[in-house]
């Protein structure tokens, strides 16, 4: 038994460490996946402006994040791609009014294989486009708008058999980025990212093709007493934050389309 002693004490130390828990960021932000690149920039800007705070980002489809908050997920802020979801959380008492609009989103046709800037939705039934990626319309607002745009263009029935669905809009962009799908419909805010922009052109789908993507955030019930959450909400109204959002193609509240 004695020769096992170092092993046993290492095991005991490991077991003791198992029950220790890690320290957490002081505000958890659940954000629609179209905000991925914008928030990659906003997070360090906020943490630099307010060094006492740190943010943790959790990205997903708005529908999934809404469902998680509804089931008690410990998020302090919810940035949704569709205003109806934060409103529903306020109505059910899971979030605290006000619901604040932060931008109008747009959808684009994007490809890393073809020059999508020279394409229109009407060309999508052509057989060279074997797979077309959109986000899941059931729970991703960008997917729902993509479906509406395809229906408006009169091609939904023709392309339906060739659709593949991303779990959220960043996943959809990944499907196109890896060319698993030749092209697809993603958020303008993702296509505006320098890394992705260099890989392929995009075609901005007219806003009249789909219902407006009114994007809004809300502080959850859990975040109501969290100063970091409130400070980030204030930060989102600052000119610094608005500049970043503008650069990612969002039409900001109170501003005309550009």
């Amino acid at each position: 038994m004695t020769r096992c002693k170092p092993l046993l004490s290492a095991l005991a130390l490991y077991l003791a460490m198992l029950t220790a828990s890690a320290c957490a960021a002081n505000a958890r932000v659940a954000a629609a996946a179209d905000l991925k690149f914008a928030f990659d920039e906003l997070k360090p800007l906020f943490e630099k402006a307010m060094p006492q705070h740190s943010l943790e980002l959790i990205l997903g489809s708005s529908g999934k994040l809404h469902q998680q908050i509804d089931h008690g997920a410990p998020f302090d802020l919810f940035f949704s791609a569709d205003v109806s979801l934060p409103k529903a959380l306020v109505n059910s008492g899971k979030a605290v009014a006000p619901v604040t609009l932060y931008g109008l989103g747009r959808v684009v046709l994007w490809s890393t294989k073809f020059d999508a800037s020279k394409l229109t939705l009407q060309q999508l039934p052509e057989t060279q486009f074997r797979k077309l990626a959109i986000a899941a319309p059931e729970h991703a607002p960008y997917g729902a708008r993509a479906k509406e745009a395809l229906q408006h263009a009169g091609v939904w029935d023709k392309v339906q058999a060739r659709l593949v669905f991303g779990e959220n809009i960043a996943h959809t962009a990944q499907l196109i980025d890896t060319q698993a799908a030749e092209l697809g419909i993603v958020a303008l805010s993702l296509a505006m990212n320098n890394k992705l922009k260099s890989k392929g052109g995009f075609y901005l789908i007219p806003a009249s093709y789909h219902q407006a993507l009114e994007q809004a955030f809300v502080i959850t019930k859990r975040g109501a007493s969290n100063t970091a959450a409130q400070d980030f909400a204030t930060f989102m109204r600052s000119e610094t934050a608005r500049q970043v959002m503008r650069r990612y193609g969002f039409v900001l509240p109170g501003e005309a389309a550009h």
Binding site: A22, G72, N168, Q174, L196
Partner: protein
Amino acid sequence: MLALSPGAWQAIWLTARLAGLTTLILLLVSAPLAWWLTHSRSRASNLVAALVSLPLVLPPTVIGFYLLLVLGPQGAVGGALERIGLPHLAFSFWGILVGSVIYSLPFAVQPLREAFGSIDPRLLDAAATMRASRIDRFVSVVLPLSRSGILTAVVITFAHTVGEFGVIAMLGGSIAGETRVVSIAIYDLTQAMEYGAAHRLSAILLAFSFLTLLSFYAINQRVMSPIKPR
């Protein structure tokens, strides 16, 4: 290795914690359960055996979905915890620990059942005639003879929990340091198109899994050959 981000290290440590605790809990739970399943001839044992094996055939989404409902604030368990002033378990480390224990249960019970079942009952009878108590018989006869099965249970349970994804994806919410284990972190990284970071974590998981199984088979072959009664 050094190129890993603090977030990646956090995910690795979290995964080690989760797998370690799951293995420890499952050893304590599975040993008496497997012993009972090996020796019980009641009809209830078939029922329990079927329940224990369910995670082998159920999609992780089903387990994750029901656990989310049961452990969440409106669920039977989560709601009861909230009423006595404790947090509910959805989207927490303790929640995915419950999920992992259920999900890996058959992987701990099965090797122990096989080990216990292969013990010659005459050895136990002999020990009993020497007035060894039930516990003494279990510790001095059953456990040493089952060491290969126990090692199998430990290694497979740990490795299976490291490789878990679906249940945690449904139940965890990808919270850093709480529920963002390595498999979830890789999923998030690929979705965010951060392929380099996803590759590094994936390669680590691949190497870990392979080396674990390789050393397991090597040890089992050389050292752990069962002791033959003389």
